[in-house]
Symmetry: C2
Subunit: 233 residues, 2 copies
DNA sequence: GCCAAATCCTGATTTATATCATATTTTTTA
DNA sequence: TAAAAAATATGATATAAATCAGGATTTGGC
């Protein structure tokens, strides 16, 4: 019970599919959206949104896996991992700011719908039910960010790595065994550590039989122990 | 130009007064809010909202200064400082969660309007203009949080302390000289450092004539140098 | 205005994690 | 398929910042 809430608390992902927010639209509003949306296919590693550039659209990820990250001089910081059926750049809607707050890049072949931001704003101003759902999504994001904020600023390296392993298995790949599409460097950007530190902690976890690592293949062997480490061990 | 954006980027505060969001309400809606709002006076150090407790209301800070923070076992993490005329617990509105995501405590004598969360949600569902303004406020918060997230996870101690000093003088107290109502421990919770480290860095800045410190009285003497340190020096 | 308690400050020491250097494996490209 | 490039792994070393321990100052209660 308690553990579940902790797991959720430090999640690297926002999980509720966002597609339901469009159900609040009328048929004619849906049509307006369709008319101002273009679908784009991306290859692995391509940039969907670039931090600082003009935020002309809201991105809905139909298929694929994406990282959302803040760019920085020595190192980036990955804020969250976005799975399919989720909205990405809702901050494009912010009146006081017309630039992307962050960058987004694909981990896999992906398809995204780019929705005109002005149209999106207009719908929000006219349809309160829709706006209400968007507010829910924004609050969901806030809850996720606060959890990670605490994790990265107050926990030590082992706890942070445990957090990420739990999140990847439980929320991103939804299996104890998964093929990691992220690099060790991504794990570093996700935990705020150096790649070497991540690798070293992987090694320790492996030696304690908490996980099995074979290159990109990862198996979580002892979830309970990782949860204890996550709760600070 | 560039410096201004950096300053804003790592701000510990969200600055636009939120009172204007209520202008989007009709007279009858304003009346409904009034009927479901109670004004409460708080002394210094009192808790307005407690993390994890039932989020029954949205808080509008009419007067005073408040810290919003995540509670943690060894140490807290202050997310932001809230000045008067700002909304505090908009996450109370989040359908998936009826608990406060964070705690809020006063630094000074304060007056807050506690607005029934259900009524607030109802108004959002019925008045799209109002909802749209709330979305703006939420996005503003997101922008602020991301900036601080990067600062605390990627910058070193000196940069973080410079960030806080700049934010306090430029945004919170709006003067090069101010009486600090926060303790050294609060500065630690705001920077993710230990209190001793904050004090040590204060000392160094003092020795380099960047600031003048006399107990709670602080004067920023060399903004430019602090900005350079903030940008990572 | 005095005393207790809290806060603030400073130096010595420890520790967690980054950095550096280098070897190995995997992936990509030609 | 070989060569080059990139990613991964590992040990040695350096360093930033925490912790610990002590004293000085300020604050708050009676």
């Amino acid at each position: 019970m308690e553990e579940t809430s902790i797991r959720k608390k430090y999640s690297c992902i926002v999980e509720n599919p966002h597609i339901t927010c469009f159900e609040a639209l009328t048929e004619s509003e849906k049509e307006i959206i369709d008319q101002h949306t273009i679908d784009v296919k991306y290859h692995r590693g391509e940039i969907i949104a670039k931090q600082g550039s003009f935020a002309s659209h809201v991105v809905f990820l139909k298929e694929g896996l994406v990282k959302v990250y803040l760019e920085g001089k020595p190192k980036d910081l990955i804020i969250k991992i976005i799975p399919d059926n989720h909205l990405i750049s809702l901050s494009s809607i912010y009146e006081g700011n017309n630039a992307f707050l962050y960058s987004a890049a694909t981990y896999t072949e992906s398809t995204a719908s780019l929705i005109d931001a002005e149209i999106f704003k207009q719908l929000i101003r006219n349809n309160a039910k829709f706006a209400s759902r968007i507010i829910n999504i924004l609050n969901e994001n806030t809850a996720q960010i606060y959890g990670r904020f605490y994790s990265l600023t107050r926990k030590q390296a082992h706890g942070r790595v445990a957090d990420i392993l739990l999140c990847l298995s439980q929320h991103v790949f939804k299996s104890d065994h998964f093929m990691l599409v992220l690099s060790r460097n991504d794990l570093a950007d996700l935990t705020g550590l150096s790649p070497e530190s991540v690798i070293r902690i992987f090694k320790e976890f492996r030696e304690e039989n908490l996980i099995e690592v074979k290159g990109k293949s990862i198996t979580v062997l002892n979830t309970g122990a990782l949860e204890k480490i996550s709760a600070y061990g």
